[in-house]
Amino acid sequence: VNRSRSSIVGLLTLVAGVSACGGGGENRADVVIPIVADQAPARFDEFAATAGELGAEVTTWCGAADGAGQATIATVEQAQTEWYALKPFWFGPVMDRRSQFIVNFRTDPAGIDELLAAADPVDAATLRDFVGADKRGLEALVYLLGAPADPRRCDYASGIADLVGEEAQAVADEWTTYGPSLVTDEMTANDAIRDIVSNAVFALREIEKDGTPAIESGLLAGARAAVLGEGDATALTTLIDDATVTQLTSEFDAADAASAEQTLATTVVSELGITLNFSDADGDG
């Protein structure tokens, strides 16, 4: 009995030792943690800073007497670019808060004009709780800035700017704690990789739709940064075959969103062993 017990203990010790030594491959958690714990929160902070400037910009536009706010529109478009560049990270706090319906949404110009003509409140709190997504957000702000300022238009634009600024800061604050806690092991690393790649694919698909140059450049840059990294920041490239990285790089360099999306949704997804939009159904086939 003692010999058997010793053998079992020895075997378990060997297995544990071998497991502890680990494989020689790239640890997925080590790859993803810097992305979600450092890079993503930093970029949400940058966006919050840009969005935070919108209130002052709108105030400046309201005080100017020279018509449409082209300078302010440039800042709004910069915010749009930064927001859509974050699309690969539109999960966690963004999904929970439904921020994509607050920060930017396709507008309903007739509805905005109707609200402009009415006397209803247009402060940030009212816009958040009682006004539809198509009458608030950055795209609605661009629409309002396209005409000369008047008190009602100014109030409405200020309300949107304040709301977007608040929301951007709230999301950034939540990502500061959410990001570092997101990946703790290989299982959560795989979940994060699936979310990032899925959202990057969706970002590239969104370029097919009628979007503004600001939005499209954000989507393309964001997908590229999430998968290939930007500057010195590493991304998922260490988990992807070198030839695939080369192919993706050339597709992003050519701003060929369709090809990049196809490579991402097929070769990269396959190499990473992940599945986009997978249900919990069984499978053996």
């Binding site: 680990g22 020689g24 491959g25 795989n190 396959s270 159904a281 053996d284």
Partner: protein, 435 residues
């Protein structure tokens, strides 16, 4: 009175059997306990499977919720029953499973179960699983083979028919693994294992290429030889331990539902016909197999089933193209987990009158679980194209812009983009539109 030992006759001495013809040999009685154990395990698994369908909410999600189903060609008329009737159908299947397990009118219950289960599988091709086909065939077998007599014996043909049914799964699954990707590139296991480094103990090693190669070769060797090890009495016990180890490992690594447990539960049919003892309950009350005409009909039915079992998995050999690419011969052929395909699918719709064109993606018309299958099976892309076309009042042309990565290879165009899929009959062989 002779003693009932493993696969020895109960009624006649061996010397007499040697002189008997092959028909007599097929019908010599052997203890029925292994057959009964098979029947009980099958019935309980069938009942469990039905209960699982309900408690997981899959009746609603898979059968009732979808606006459109990805039907099989020639079976477009198969539709889910409305609401409560669909649940009732699944409940009845579960009760039939229990009846089979209890040995109550086994053959009748097996016939009805096979038909009802087959109906369930025909509703949506996205739900196709190899082991569902196995369950259907096993139910058909239980309806055909003679049930235990009052003496608690069955003709040995019953035991061998069940053994062959299990053997077919392993052997053809093994043959399907004899390809370059599996043996030379360790694909798709290399991809799948690298994404499973979160598993306890072995996880850190699963992204090692050596692990993928070892498991690829071991898996092929297991599938191709396990039947022989199970048939050889000296290795049978260890072989069954290997069966348990293999299927538990695959269950831990992959999301393959009941398949491992089905195989673990039914593989003991390879043991001696008396392995489960002599005290089994629920044997059939009448044994019609003693009647000569019943013997002929049973033999004929089993022969047909054998041809089906051998013919379907091999049909891809006479189909044009590579089955790993075009799936021509994939269904009902035990090509279990040998190909990883990930596709990006977009349909280009053209109004032939105005010339206007626009894009539609599968997720615009299908549920997520259907989309995940559409992106890996070309026949479902054709089915989806027909669903898309049917969404418009006037005829439209539907072409597919589809790229696929097969077993980790660089993406390639998969479907001929010049073909109007809406104009293709659903029965069109895949090699006619797969590149």
């Amino acid at each position: 009175m002779p003693t009932a030992t493993a696969e020895t006759t109960l009624a006649r001495p061996a010397a007499a059997l040697a002189k008997a013809g092959w028909t007599a040999r097929l019908w010599r009685p052997v203890p029925s306990s292994s057959t009964t154990a098979f029947r009980i395990a099958f019935g309980l698994l069938a009942a469990f499977s039905s209960a699982r369908l309900i408690w997981k909410g899959w009746v609603g999600e898979f059968y009732l919720a979808p606006t459109d189903h990805l039907t099989y060609p020639r079976f477009e008329w198969v539709r889910p029953l409305p609401g409560a009737l669909m649940y009732a159908h699944v409940i009845v299947l579960g009760l039939l499973g229990l009846a089979i397990a209890a040995g109550w009118k086994t053959r009748s219950c097996a016939v009805i179960f096979a038909a009802g289960f087959g109906y369930l599988e025909l509703i949506d091709a996205a739900l196709y699983l190899n082991h569902y086909w196995f369950v259907t065939l096993a139910a058909v077998l239980l309806a055909i083979v003679p049930q235990p007599s009052r003496e608690r014996t069955v003709p040995v043909i019953t035991v061998w028919a069940l053994r062959i049914q299990v053997a077919v799964v392993y052997v053809f699954a093994g043959l399907a693994k004899l390809n370059t990707d599996w043996l030379v590139h360790a694909q798709p296991l290399r991809i799948w294992l690298a994404a499973r480094t979160d598993r306890p103990l072995v996880g850190p090693w699963l992204d090692e290429p050596l692990a993928a190669f070892a498991m690829s070769w071991a898996g092929a060797a297991f599938d191709l030889t396990i039947v022989a090890w199970l048939l050889w009495p000296r290795t049978r016990r260890y072989a069954y331990l290997a069966v348990i180890g293999f299927h538990v490992a695959t269950a831990a690594l992959f999301q393959i539902g009941l398949f491992p447990w089905v195989m673990i539960a039914l593989t003991p049919i390879f043991f001696s016909p008396s392995w489960a003892g002599r005290g089994e309950a629920g044997h059939a009350l009448r044994d019609r197999s003693a009647v000569p005409i019943a013997r002929k009909m049973t033999t004929a039915a089993l022969s047909v089933l054998l041809l089906v079992n051998l013919g379907l998995p091999l049909r891809h050999l006479v189909a044009p193209g590579d089955v790993a690419v075009n799936d021509d011969g994939y269904y009902l052929a035990w090509r279990v987990m040998v190909t990883e395909r990930v596709a990006a699918v977009r349909f280009e719709i053209t109004d032939p009158v105005s010339g206007a064109s626009w894009s539609v993606r599968p997720e615009d018309v299908l549920a997520d679980w259907q989309v995940s299958q559409v992106t890996s099976r070309p026949d479902l892309i054709l089915a989806t194209a027909h669903i898309v076309a049917a969404r418009y009042d006037d005829p439209v042309e539907v072409r597919a812009d589809v790229w696929v990565s097969i077993n980790g290879h660089p993406r390639q165009r998969w479907i001929d983009p010049t073909i109007d899929l809406a104009a293709l009959p659903r029965t069109t062989p895949t090699h006619e539109y797969v590149l």
